[in-house]
């Protein structure tokens, strides 16, 4: 690992201005922490680290409570459950049990695109809620929920209904699970609830876990009919933001790999119910779905590996890893062919962007995996990530899964149900023999292998968990990165300071960025952002230059004479003529 203050890095120095040597990271860290009251500073200090030894990442205070009064990026458990993991299931009817807001804000605000089969109702276009009023808050909302489920069934006749609890519901003690069970018996379709009240846990992350549990309990394994097709995999933790899942799907199909289900980008109910028939789970976003991967392995014997389809080299690596798992020469050859083809198309775009982006810097504060994954895309075009952090990830996402046994379970994690999973008596089927696995592993292949973000970041870079508004401001002041990847709430703050910000939750309504084809979009996008002329217009000329003679429209001499001539032919009308 090279040092980030090494100016020879990637062959050229940063273009962020003359004499702008990167600040000493420890001094920068102190500067960021300085303003905080003691208690706040002590807490933030654990979440704001200098990556001193990437080989041995330091312990980060991730997945801890947000400090009240800090302007945070984080959202709630409901958002992680309803919004992230289950929300994208397009033919499941979703009902939010609560007052109006929670459901309103989660209505098509995340760009998990879907293409349901023709004629199928796309429930993502609907926002349904019990819209609780004072009466239900006082006397309980179970009756209204039951009625709402009945009404929804009568109008839409869905295959399944999912119900989500919001903060007030938990507090008044509505038992949504009993209501769902009764409705299921009455209506004869699958109906299940999620206790994802926003106050549980410390961020969206708790909601992911609750969603994983619920999907596993109520949906996975209901249909044992396997897909036709060779090399069947599930992609876990890919939500089809801006069409990413479609890009990955197309790429895998080219290679001859069949995707049984993508959890949960553009996924149908039926796909969820039989995803346990696939032979490998590949995990894209480790944070949001590792629970599912583990539970499916325990119950059905499907192993999982970590992949990353963001970035060209990562995508190639992931394809090779999948091919390796299936131990098929045919597949391995095909994968190499596809990589060669795709890279041949991508390389010119990459080179073109690299010309203008090489040596520039990025900072990434987003999600539970993107802050790591997107570093690869920046690296592809010669840019360095000088600081990064997740919004809601855990220590393993920073330091690698090896630290899992040492993570202390605190009160906030304890209140999230850990479900007991056992091998299924009839359907547990190891996909490989012990010998096969031993041979694979001896050859350097590894299962359940997430190394985390910090190992791949440069020495001296900053790692900031749950970054606060104040820290972003300071970071820009001290480092002036050329681009920041972040979310909607930070975007315009960052841009007011003259730094372009790429929304990496919603892609600024662009994308896709996954796979080789998506990478091309991203390179072009970053090239546009860091080189756009608009930033040069920020300061008006009178603030930049002393008073200079005005720049008038240039008229060559000949032209001027012609103009003078033309005016001569014009005659003023006579007094009398004017009235004619």
């Amino acid at each position: 690992m090279s040092d980030i203050s090494d100016p020879t890095l990637d062959g050229s120095s940063s273009t962020s201005g003359p004499g702008s040597a990167p600040p000493d990271p420890n001094a920068a860290r102190d500067e960021m922490l300085k303003i905080y009251p003691d208690k706040t500073r002590r807490k933030r200090a654990k979440q704001l680290l200098v990556n001193d030894d990437p080989e041995k990442p330091a312990e980060i205070g991730a997945n801890s409570r947000t400090i009240p009064g800090i302007i945070t990026q984080r959202g709630c458990t409901y958002a992680g459950c309803r919004g992230v993991v289950i929300g994208p299931m397009h033919d499941v009817l979703h009902i939010t049990h609560g007052p109006i807001g929670c459901s309103f804000y989660s209505w098509q605000t995340r760009r998990n695109l879907a293409r349901p089969a023709p004629g199928q109702i796309n429930y993502l276009q609907y926002s349904m809620t019990t819209d609780m009023t004072e009466e239900e808050i006082i006397f309980g909302g179970e009756k209204k929920l039951a009625a709402a489920i009945r009404e929804a069934y009568r109008i839409f006749k869905p295959k399944a209904i999912a119900v989500y609890a919001t903060c007030p519901v938990g507090l008044i003690g509505d038992d949504i699970h009993t209501v769902c069970r009764q409705a299921k018996a009455e209506l004869g379709i699958n109906i299940f609830g999620f206790s994802c009240e926003g106050y549980k846990g410390v961020s969206q992350s708790a909601g992911h876990h609750i969603a994983n549990n619920g999907v596993f309990k109520h949906m996975v394994g209901l249909n044992d009919t396997p897909d036709a097709g060779e090399f069947r995999i599930n992609i876990l933790g890919e939500y089809n933001i801006g069409g990413d899942a479609w890009e990955i799907d197309t790429l895998l199909r080219k290679c001859g790999i069949h995707v049984t289900a993508t959890l949960s980008g553009d996924i149908s109910y039926e796909q969820v119910t039989r995803c346990h028939t696939a032979d490998l789970n590949v995990v894209q976003c480790h944070r949001s779905i590792n629970y599912m991967a583990d539970m499916m392995e325990t119950k059905f014997g499907i192993p999982w590996i970590k992949v990353n389809f963001i970035g060209a080299s990562s995508t190639a690596k992931s394809l090779r890893k999948i091919a390796r798992y299936f131990e098929s020469k045919k597949l391995a050859d095909r994968v190499e062919e596809v990589i060669a083809q795709e890279m041949a198309a991508l390389r010119p775009v990459q080179e073109e962007a690299r010309k203008r982006c090489q040596g520039k810097t990025a900072a990434l504060f987003v999600g539970g995996s993107r802050a790591h994954h997107y570093q690869d895309l920046f690296r592809d075009i010669g840019m360095t990530t000088i600081a990064a952090g997740y919004e809601f990830a855990h220590r393993d996402d920073y330091e690698g899964r090896k630290v899992l046994p040492t993570i202390k379970v605190d009160a906030d994690s304890r209140n999230i149900e850990e479900i007991e999973v056992e091998p299924d008596p009839t359907r547990f089927r190891p996909r490989k023999t012990a010998e096969q696995n031993a041979a694979l592993e001896a050859g350097g292949f590894s299962y359940r292998d997430y190394e985390g973000m910090m190992r791949e970041m440069k020495k001296g870079s900053l790692v900031i968990d749950d970054i606060s508004h104040h820290e972003i401001e300071k970071l820009i002041e001290l480092y002036k990165p050329d681009v920041i990847g972040s979310g909607i709430k930070e975007k315009f703050v960052i841009e007011k300071m003259g730094v372009p910000c790429k929304q990496l939750h919603s892609y600024d309504y662009g994308g896709p960025y996954a796979a080789f084809t998506g990478a091309a979009n991203f390179y072009r996008e970053i090239d546009r952002m860091v080189n756009t002329k608009v930033w040069k217009l920020v300061t008006p000329p009178w603030k930049r230059e002393p008073q200079v003679p005005p720049r008038l429209v240039y008229q060559p001499k000949a032209n001027r004479e012609e103009l003078a001539e033309a005016t001569k032919t014009w005659k003023a009308p006579s007094k009398a003529g004017a009235d004619e």
Partner: protein, 457 residues
């Protein structure tokens, strides 16, 4: 698209589908941003705050700051005292606002946190520096809508801050309602054109339509200043624009400091703007400026040119109650026929007032409070319309039913312009005609047979 929606109207008592309103705190947050130097604070779990900031940001494309008490399960059980105290300490140390405006969420309402008591204790503990202000309002979302939240916050700002010195000031107060920064700017311009000094509260112009100049200001130039708010108790009168967003606060000021409350509707269209101008005239030393009168003339000119295209056009209007009431009247001025008028908010005044307006002219119009986009869509399937006026959430209906669509109100998440160009005042009406006529023309140009494709319209 929306192919679960059929023409068969299904009775619903419990299920809200595709709401035409959202929750109180977002309105309170928006109102707080209209105070200069203010940090809005959401007392509850952080999800609500995150959602509200995100949605306001998507609408304004501007930084929207707010802090949260970040409740976890413990706070939900034991109450939010510790969280709010710690939050206040952090906010004043790190972000240094002049004032913090606290609003509650459903969660803290259900718990029953008593904000004034918590704030009092926080002050005793030294969490709030000398000279800094903390105010609050209650915004339970299981009552009312985002408009109620806006109104509650404005009323609270007044209750906490407005003072009466006993010495009258030569100024009026204007409560503009839940409108855009551009609308607030326009309202100030109209007051200036009559020479009437006005305190506009809240005022988000120069807060949520700020320039890009390379520097980030956590507290931008705009916003009603605290001295100005204090002085409201000495004003000659208050003009409150809109029953739902503004009348309550104006009346509370009348009760508290006997400042007479002039209750008007949102000045959208000719008559409503005339009413506002007339009201101001009583306090105007100079009368109506020529500039404004000419502007009105230009609007009427445009209406006379364009009314042929509006004549008898069936229009559906959905949105916030004050907006819908005003827009319906403007559409009638244009000769159009508002056949559906809905709001997601509750309040009998909405239906009473619209029946008063529409019964004589469009007796079969459907008017409904606490309605949603799903039922509006069903009505449209049964009786089509020529134009839909709504916020962004109308776009699916517009697409699937192929209806010209004009976005007005909150939120608008997918177009630009709303925060720069007003819809209030004569200038705002001109812009609305521009948007509506062009939407009608665009459809004709897209769809008419070639022989009817005309260059001049």
């Amino acid at each position: 698209m929306l192919n679960g929606t059929t023409a068969e109207i299904a009775e619903r008592k419990a299920l809200r589908i595709n709401a035409a309103k959202t929750c109180q705190p977002i309105g309170a947050m928006y109102a707080s941003l209209g105070i200069h130097g203010c940090m809005p604070h959401s007392h509850g779990s952080q999800g609500c705050c995150s959602y509200h900031r995100s949605h306001l940001t998507r609408h304004f494309k501007e930084p929207v700051i707010a802090t949260t008490s970040s409740f976890t399960e413990g706070a939900s059980v034991f109450g939010g005292l510790a969280n709010l105290t710690q939050a206040l300490r952090n906010i004043f140390t790190i972000y240094n606002p002049d004032i913090v405006a606290v609003h509650t969420t459903c969660l803290s309402e259900v718990i029953g946190d008593d904000i004034p008591t918590i704030v009092k204790r926080a002050r005793e503990e030294g969490a709030i520096p000398e000279g800094k202000l903390v105010i609050h309002t209650n915004t339970p979302s299981f009552v009312g809508s985002h408009v109620t939240g806006f109104s509650n916050m404005v009323a609270s700002i007044i209750k906490y801050l407005a003072e009466k010195t006993g010495e009258a000031r030569n100024q009026v107060n204007v409560i503009p309602g839940f409108v855009e920064p551009a609308d607030m700017r326009e309202i100030k311009r109209i007051c200036a054109l009559l020479g009437v000094p006005a305190v506009v509260l809240p005022d988000t112009s120069a807060v949520l339509d700020g320039p890009l100049d390379g520097e980030y200001q956590m507290y931008p130039k705009g916003g009603t200043t605290i001295p100005a708010i204090k002085s409201m108790g000495d004003s000659l009168a208050t003009f409150a624009l809109g029953h739902f967003a503004s009348h309550g606060p104006a009346v509370s000021l009348e009760v508290k400091h006997q400042v007479p409350a002039g209750l008007l509707e949102l000045p959208i269209g000719v008559a409503a703007t005339d009413a506002f101008v007339q009201a101001l005239r009583a306090y105007s030393p100079s009368g109506v400026a020529e500039e404004l009168e000419t502007e009105r003339g230009r609007l009427v000119d445009m209406m006379s040119d364009m009314q042929q295209y509006f004549h008898e056009k069936r229009v559906a209007v959905a949105g916030d109650p004050d907006h819908v009431i005003a827009l319906v009247q403007f559409l009638l001025e244009l000769g159009a026929k508002p056949v559906y008028a809905i709001t997601g908010s509750r309040g009998n005044h909405f239906e009473t007032r619209l029946h008063e307006i529409l019964d004589p002219v469009v007796p079969d119009a459907i008017i409904k409070q606490s309605a949603d986009f799903f039922e509006l869509h069903q009505w449209i399937k049964n009786g089509p319309v020529d134009l839909l006026v709504a916020n962004t959430y109308g776009k699916h209906i517009a697409r699937v039913e192929n209806i010209p669509f004009v976005r007005v109100g909150f939120p608008i998440l997918d177009r630009v312009g709303h925060r720069f160009y007003p819809t209030v005042g004569y200038a705002g009406a001109i812009r609305l005609i521009d948007l509506m006529v062009n939407a009608l023309f665009d459809k004709k140009d897209r769809e008419c047979p070639e022989e009817w494709f005309e260059l001049v319209m």
